[in-house]
């Protein structure tokens, strides 16, 4: 047990002393989260992309009531006339006659949407006045929408909901470079062989490496979540909110970590030099990321490309995270993605053991 702790402590020391690797693992993805959360705000389903309107005339009870009803419908925001609203409303004779001046940049879809929202709000306004005049209470009809988990896939996440998990996954896979650098240096400098001559087998060596990198991945997850929750809103983006269960979050992040560590071990076992591992690791990371919807959100991909995302383990992880953040999923709902990622990680690790043993026998 003491030997295992010594191996883990050694790994922690090596990770902690590599400042550039730490910057790549923590600072870089945090910056990506900030940039992408802000950049995607208009493309994603954020409140910032809402239809905006202002009242042209003076504020009175009718405009206040109409504004209140419109604000109850999501996606429509009242702004001041100075903020260049998309729609300028002028009310005549109470709300009997409404004139809408539309900004020339508003497309037909947005106009149709706003017209339907406005028509609905005017009807409700009339209904309220009838209720008041005749003293009849008419209960408002409500429609509650709930998402099944399969349907949650189709939810269009907000910019922050998309960016945070994407770059968490990308950052977690970045340990490929850090882990393989250490592993290859150990092999090149004969430190691995020296440890073998001291009766440290490959299994024990791996057991000493996996927990530190797993904990590093979990720490990355926490830092990136904090970036999404606290730093992004400070910079003008939408704050990340936790809708799903923490157990689900832990499960999926552990599964991604397993896949990342397994991939890192395989690349480290195959590569002869740190440069090779860096290049291959970087390419694998970018390919997984591009195919998995990390760099370009899946919802803006064409259908055929979206179907192709299934080949990337980053896509499985992203699906799991989105179910939690956008769909409010519980642990059971991310079981499929988690099992897939754990299996992928185990397969990579098994391959890494086979490759390393082959290399060891050859020497």
């Amino acid at each position: 047990m003491n030997v295992l702790f010594a191996l883990m402590k050694k790994e922690f020391l090596l990770i902690a002393r590599d400042r550039w690797a730490l910057a790549a693992l923590f600072v870089l993805p945090s910056i990506f989260i900030l940039i992408m959360s802000l950049a995607l705000q208009n493309a994603a389903g954020d409140d910032k992309a809402a239809l905006t309107y202002a009242f042209g005339g003076p504020e009175d009870a009718t405009t206040a009531e109409l504004g209140k009803i419109l604000s109850e419908n999501g996606g429509v925001a009242r702004v001041s006339p100075a903020d260049e609203p998309q729609f300028n409303l002028t009310l005549k004779d109470g709300a009997e006659h409404v004139t809408v001046a539309v900004d020339y940049r508003v497309d037909g879809m947005a106009l149709a949407l706003f017209r339907s929202q406005l028509a609905l709000a005017l009807m409700r306004l009339k209904l309220h006045s009838l209720q008041e005049r005749f003293g009849v209470a008419i209960p408002a009809a409500t429609a509650e929408v709930t998402y099944t988990y399969a349907a949650a896939r189709a939810i269009r996440p907000s910019a922050t909901q998309q960016s945070v998990p994407s770059w968490i996954i990308f950052a977690m896979f970045f340990i490929i470079i850090s882990l393989s650098n250490v592993f290859i240096a150990e092999r090149k400098q004969n430190t691995l062989a020296r440890l073998r001559s001291m009766d440290i087998g490959f299994a024990l060596l791996m057991a000493g490496k996996i927990p530190p990198y797993y904990l590093l991945n979990q720490l990355q997850t926490l830092v990136m979540l904090a970036t999404g929750m606290y730093l992004t809103p400070l910079c003008g983006g939408q704050a990340l909110t936790m809708n799903g269960s923490f157990l689900a979050l832990w499960l999926i992040s552990s599964a991604i970590s397993c896949a990342a560590v397994g991939t890192a071990f395989l690349i480290a076992s195959l590569a002869d030099t740190a440069e090779q591992a860096g290049t291959v690791g970087g390419v694998v990371n970018v390919l997984f990321g591009a195919l998995g919807g990390v760099m370009v959100p899946k919802y803006i991909m064409p259908d055929y490309l979206r179907q192709l995302t299934v080949v990337s383990p980053m896509s499985w992880g992203l699906d799991g995270f989105l179910k939690i953040f956008a769909g409010g999923a519980a642990a059971r709902a991310v079981a499929l993605e988690s099992v897939a990622l754990f299996s992928f990680g185990a397969a990579m690790l098994a391959l890494a053991i086979v490759v390393s043993k082959k290399r060891g026998t050859k020497s």
């Binding site: 003491n2 030997v3 702790f5 010594a6 191996l7 402590k9 050694k10 020391l13 090596l14 002393r17 590599d18 240096a185 090149k188 400098q189 004969n190 430190t191 062989a193 020296r194 440890l195 073998r196 001559s197 001291m198 009766d199 440290i200 026998t361 050859k362 020497s363």
Partner: protein, 242 residues
């Protein structure tokens, strides 16, 4: 004592060791002399149990190496040519790490760490990152790590390569001090003068074969007559090596 009989090792179709038979006695330092690529490092890595061999037999204190690796690993220290430790860790952290790997704990660990550091004059360097040490200091740390387990067998793989003369002499003195009854020390080098000065017995290896084996008396004669160089050159010249 280590006895090697008819040892062969292939890398693909290349034969690195060709039916080598040698014995290494306890209480002395045995030198393995040979040019680069002669097979010295291969032989040492096999004895260090980090490489396999294809045929032959190795007996270490009467135990067959192939069948008793676990036992033999407990009593051997392999000091590879390249410093085999962690550059990002300090000297103290490296020594502590390898001491635990060696199975040392508590007061025994403390005593061995202090002894290894003192014998290799590392006390003042304990807090320094290993990667920031000079070439000679790195080799001293490399040797100190090997000393931690107080091993019965010490295998030195060309520890002085790339070091200047003063540091080489310093290291050789340190290695000579490791000689004690019961301990087998094997020292490989391609420097004739090192083998002459340091070793009690020697063998010249060329193209994977043990060409000349010199016992204690023969070594004294060679040193006195300065004939080792002639032996070595006659063995390694192209006309003899075909």
């Amino acid at each position: 004592m280590i006895v090697i009989r008819n040892l062969c090792k292939f890398y693909g179709r290349f034969q690195a060791l060709d039916h080598i038979s040698l014995s290494f006695n306890s209480g002395i330092i045995t030198g393995l002399l040979g040019m680069n690529g002669a097979g010295k490092s291969t032989l040492l890595s096999i004895l260090a149990t980090v490489s396999e061999y294809d045929s032959g037999e190795i007996l270490v204190f009467g135990q067959n190496l192939a069948e008793n690796k676990k036992n033999i690993r407990k009593i051997l220290a392999w000091i590879p040519q390249e410093p085999a430790f962690y550059d990002q860790m300090t000297v103290a952290e490296n020594l502590d790490f390898f001491a635990v790997i060696r199975g040392l704990f508590g007061t025994q660990k403390k005593a061995r760490l202090e002894a290894a550091a003192a014998n290799n004059r590392l006390e003042s360097l304990m807090g320094r990152r290993a990667g920031a040490l000079s070439g000679g200091e790195k080799q001293r740390l490399n040797i100190a790590i090997g000393m931690l387990g107080d091993p019965e067998i010490m295998l030195f793989d060309e520890p002085t390569v790339g070091l200047d003369v003063g540091i080489r002499q310093d290291l050789l003195m340190g290695i000579r001090a490791l000689k004690r009854p019961g301990r087998v020390i094997i020292y490989t080098s391609h420097y004739l003068d090192e083998i002459e000065k340091l070793c009690d017995e020697a063998a010249i290896i060329h193209q994977g074969r043990a060409r000349v084996v010199l016992d204690r008396d023969a070594m004294r004669r060679e040193a006195a007559n300065k004939t080792l160089e002639r032996h070595f050159l006659s063995m390694t010249e192209p006309s003899h090596s075909a």
